[in-house]
Symmetry: C2
Subunit: 326 residues, 2 copies
């Protein structure tokens, strides 16, 4: 029985987070304590992708995690709420507004409440905790920090772009030359994050884009060191399978930042070598296993492609079983 | 050909405002200048009913005017947008929010844009002008002032209540003992209102509740005097027909503030005597005409019940014709 801390970005990360949560839910109440796999689960989400539109604060990665854990997520897109409508969005267009970032009507409720609480002086950690509780989610979801940190994408064609401008508005077409995390220098580790890490028995880096989803989290001062100093092993789940990102621009970005050969499980492992101790790679990438072990990782080779909830739960269970002891 | 200034509250006021606007539209472009009935139309709306919910500023009367003039209004309720949905509202309920004031999804677009502009430092006059233009409305819609003025209802049962708490949340069930307009002392006449009044040839008080819709407008310092000092005659259209308010709590409020006999066209006329010069009453109230004339009004007795657009346009045309010369 472990306390788990998981670092997650958006859709890919949320899948494994849901797998872990599934175990928390199913083992927490129905089994004797000794057989429980997870004691407590804390998910730390990336907020580098956040933006403000129409006066409301949008946290795309936290929202994806929130909706996924609440069982509300749109299973087709992975983001947004299933069956959501777009009447507000259409009316904003009628008012002549530029609408490049889709916002559902139900989704707006989250943004409205979050913005209202933030304006009332609450921190994003407290706000996120309240939203999580209000949706009946039984694990903790924390933003990486309370301060504003913004991922800025340095592109060859258009210079610096805020993340969503690059990712959504320009559909990730520009060549990425580099990234920076604006405001990270002024961010601080929240008490909630610090405490979750202090109590962790296992730290899982969900299969999220390292550059776009995990680096912003690790850019919070002391985050990387505090995770590293924890006695809990850090296990990274590769977001690259068979040389491809399952979703999003991870592979393309790895190629443009690291060269043509870098979009591989091995390349991901190299990024985390010396900091993480475990590495989970897909069976398609079995040929990388030896090189990854040579980097010092305890590896797990399995099917990492998560389609339905059973897949997610199976992967979570395999990880928990494999990394029970180091 | 006249410059018209109309004072209006919500649904009842918006009907006559639409009738006047219909003439501006139909006569402005198709007829020679000499035959045009309206040169310019400015509607001054009540903002005493405004409220903030979920972090957005809602102006119920301005919204009703905006949607009515844009041809978007819900013809059944008179407020809100036709065919609007309530997905955001339902999701807010799921978050456990108290939702006593219905807010449609399309409607939210208006509140979001307004709030965003206000937070950016624009005044409500400028914001309202922009919303009006964005919806393609060809007349001016002005809030009574830029400052916050709030109608507070003094009730027998629950003490003081903000207007919407009284009107919507408690469904106007309390006995009204009095009203006050919080913040009115600090309000000022905007340049736009001042200029519209200076250029007016006719001032129409639309069939809105005098206490709840017109008094807040007249509570803006200098508003009553500036209207009065204008050379344009002031014509009041009675919101009471056959002893009943066509909509809303006007009759009940008149009774509780002025006694059992006061919910009549004559009672309305008495409220405006000495300030307005014209009075339009319904044919059902013909027996009040002599007494109203004795108060010094030039009267017009006609069918004031506006069902479809033809009714509204007819009433507007009759008023324009009758009060062509004093």
């Amino acid at each position: 029985m472990k306390n788990i801390v998981a670092l997650a970005g958006g859709v890919g990360g949320a899948k494994l987070a849901l797998g872990l949560y599934h175990h928390l839910q199913t083992t927490q109440f129905s089994k004797p304590a000794a057989e429980r796999k997870i004691k407590d689960l804390t998910i730390i989400g990336n907020t580098g992708d956040d933006l403000e539109l129409f006066g409301v604060r949008i946290c795309p990665d936290l929202d994806t995690l929130l909706y996924t854990l609440a069982g509300l997520a749109n299973p087709v897109t992975g983001w947004g709420i299933e069956g959501d409508t777009f009447a507000t969005f259409e009316m904003l267009k009628r008012y002549g507004e530029e609408c490049w970032f889709q916002l559902g009507d139900r989704d707006f409720a989250t943004h409205l409440l979050r913005t209202q609480m933030l304006r009332a002086g609450k921190g994003l950690t407290e706000v996120t905790t309240q939203l999580t509780e209000k949706l009946g989610i039984g694990c903790r979801l924390l933003p990486m920090c309370d301060e504003d940190v913004r991922t800025i994408v340095q592109t060859a064609e258009s210079g610096e772009l805020p993340f969503q401008e690059y990712f959504v508005r320009r559909q990730a077409r520009e060549t990425v030359r580099g990234l920076r995390f604006e405001g990270a220098e002024n961010a601080t580790l929240s008490n909630a994050v610090r405490q979750a890490i202090a109590e962790a028995d296992l730290i899982v880096v969900c299969p999220s884009n390292p550059y776009l989803s995990i680096w912003p989290i690790l850019a919070v001062p002391q985050m990387k060191e505090t995770l590293s100093a924890s006695e809990a092993p850090i296990v990274v789940v590769s977001p690259i399978v068979g040389g491809m990102a399952l979703k999003g621009p991870a592979a393309a970005i790895m190629r443009s930042l690291g060269g043509e050969e870098t979009a591989s499980a091995l390349a991901v492992a190299r990024l985390y070598a010396g900091w993480a101790q475990g590495f989970v790679l897909d069976q398609q990438d079995r040929e990388d296993e030896e090189a990854i072990r040579a980097l010092g990782f305890k590896t797990l080779v399995t099917n990492t492609i998560m389609k339905g909830t059973p897949d997610k739960a199976r992967l979570a269970l395999e990880i928990l079983g494999h990394y029970k002891t180091f």
